[in-house]
Symmetry: C3
Subunit: 260 residues, 3 copies
Amino acid sequence: MPIITLTSDWGTKDHYVAAVKGSITSQIPDAVIVDITHDIKPFDIISASYVIKNSYPHFPQGTIHLIGVNTEASLEHSHIAVFHDGHYFIGTDNGIFSLVFNEIPKEIIEIDIIQDTDLFTFPSKDVFVKVASQIIKTKSLEGLGNKKKGLFEKKLLEPVVLNGIIKGSVIYIDRYENIITNITSQIFKEFVKSRPFKIKFRSMAYVIKKISQSYGDVEPGEKLAVFGSAGYLEIAINQGKAASLLGLETNDSVNVIIEE
Amino acid sequence: MPIITLTSDWGTKDHYVAAVKGSITSQIPDAVIVDITHDIKPFDIISASYVIKNSYPHFPQGTIHLIGVNTEASLEHSHIAVFHDGHYFIGTDNGIFSLVFNEIPKEIIEIDIIQDTDLFTFPSKDVFVKVASQIIKTKSLEGLGNKKKGLFEKKLLEPVVLNGIIKGSVIYIDRYENIITNITSQIFKEFVKSRPFKIKFRSMAYVIKKISQSYGDVEPGEKLAVFGSAGYLEIAINQGKAASLLGLETNDSVNVIIEE
Amino acid sequence: MPIITLTSDWGTKDHYVAAVKGSITSQIPDAVIVDITHDIKPFDIISASYVIKNSYPHFPQGTIHLIGVNTEASLEHSHIAVFHDGHYFIGTDNGIFSLVFNEIPKEIIEIDIIQDTDLFTFPSKDVFVKVASQIIKTKSLEGLGNKKKGLFEKKLLEPVVLNGIIKGSVIYIDRYENIITNITSQIFKEFVKSRPFKIKFRSMAYVIKKISQSYGDVEPGEKLAVFGSAGYLEIAINQGKAASLLGLETNDSVNVIIEE
């Protein structure tokens, strides 16, 4: 049975999710539909890309991921279908794809399907479901449109290594108010090796000097640093709300400093 | 596989949705359950009817729609099953059905199933799931109870055309804070034809003089009017929250005036 | 098709639910996944146990219930799998199981599965899904680990009968703000029999003297007492928000007094 995931900023109170699921059920009766989330903040392609990046690899190869965030097409932002890492992705080339993938996918198609409604359209329902249906039939991106070489580029701040410091920043805050930074365990290990270090944020006020293996390594209410299940350096408080308590927001800086 | 949709005001934090899904899974093991929404404001049958009206036509013929809003039966408001437009609907005749359908359905049955619990009942679980199971077996409303001629009537304000003005009102505000009015594209076209017009709301303060084809037709932050995917005149702000910014709420008036 | 339910405090905005559903879809392709709720307040095992207790019996025998609340294992709180009442449960022995079951289950296994990641783990995805997959294969708890005799005990206040009074308390407030107490219909009937009684809460301010059969037994806005579909004494206001209006919170006392 083909698996189709949905990621969107449609929320759950209106008919938008249902209209898309109804269309899928009508056009692809044996599809298994899985919601990634519909609670992306309206138009927030950065959060959406973080969630998709951390969700899609857990699904089986061949899964189709439908992305309904800021989907209105324009000359600059076309509707595209992408095959990458064994998965299909359908959405709008508004920068979100460049944030999800670490490299430019080899197969990118600019979707060329005529919409059969003269009302204002809802691309996820009127275009993307048809594209998904087509992909399931051909098991490829064939016949969907012309090849495209690149993606519309939106770049996140990457962590910078400078003068014995990794200068990173907060990219996401989750529902527990754990603070996720853009510092990967790979960058951290290559740079820090086995040297002593401190993690600093909010000027001098807070410092963490070790990496924990789990939240329970510190007492409830104490702050800690872990590499989360997605591989990013995460600042948390055991059973507490780190973002509020430490006063950290998206884009705030988090630095790793070597102590010598 | 039979498809059953759920629309309710149960929210998602309690066990109500799960109890109904568990009952469906127990009684109809091959059912595909699709949530329309469970985030209807408690007892708000007007919003619920708007969401159902815009959701159900996207599902395949034969889909069963279970409506769990204000379901307690009384002498005036009986539990009913309806077959209309190729779809089955199960709920309470509290006015919601009269709001979902533009005409009185030909097949309305007053449900006559005895509940086998002496605890306070939860009709969606204790009655409606059994009815759905029965409909799936007979592919009809047979044996569910007696025919009923009409529906309990609840009427929304319809737009009125008077002295060169369409006097409409706000019927729904979606999660993006787009403002949906009761003015359909049909009424608008018949009345306006190709004459110049202006859309007015909140006394004189705001005016829109054209219908856009998409949100992107205006700059981010600018207001616009479109016919949404459901066919209603919608006031929006490109990537902005129209309801808050324009100060419009449900039931506020929105007029279309011919300029001559 | 095996049914797997999910109950968690992960919320719906992040990738946590999707990561688990993706893992299930990859490892158990024919699984039917049903969300109980993901809106448990972080770490709130008491609410979680109330929701699970009232949800699981509606599912078919053999259903696997995955519990993702406060899952981090420690020496005191191990990962366990339980077979009870025809259902399988997988989670962390943090007290939640002792709250869900009225008696100690006969089959409790301490899970002994090595995790194959050196990143900080997400037990629901990395351990519980594997355990579910194993249970589906063997239709038992065989090979999962060693037997365990008891559960980590967390006790809720039980209602106390003293001097002609049932002294109960509020255990849960639902999305309608209905107030659920720990007084079961069984305790109530055994104690009250057919004698006149009054239900008192918030010192002397409010009194209810009868048990209603449905919310509609009183006028909208009036308070009432019912035995809810879960069998607990519930204080409600017909179409109103009882908890706010009556000023009752979780743990507040609710007494039933015999009038003689």
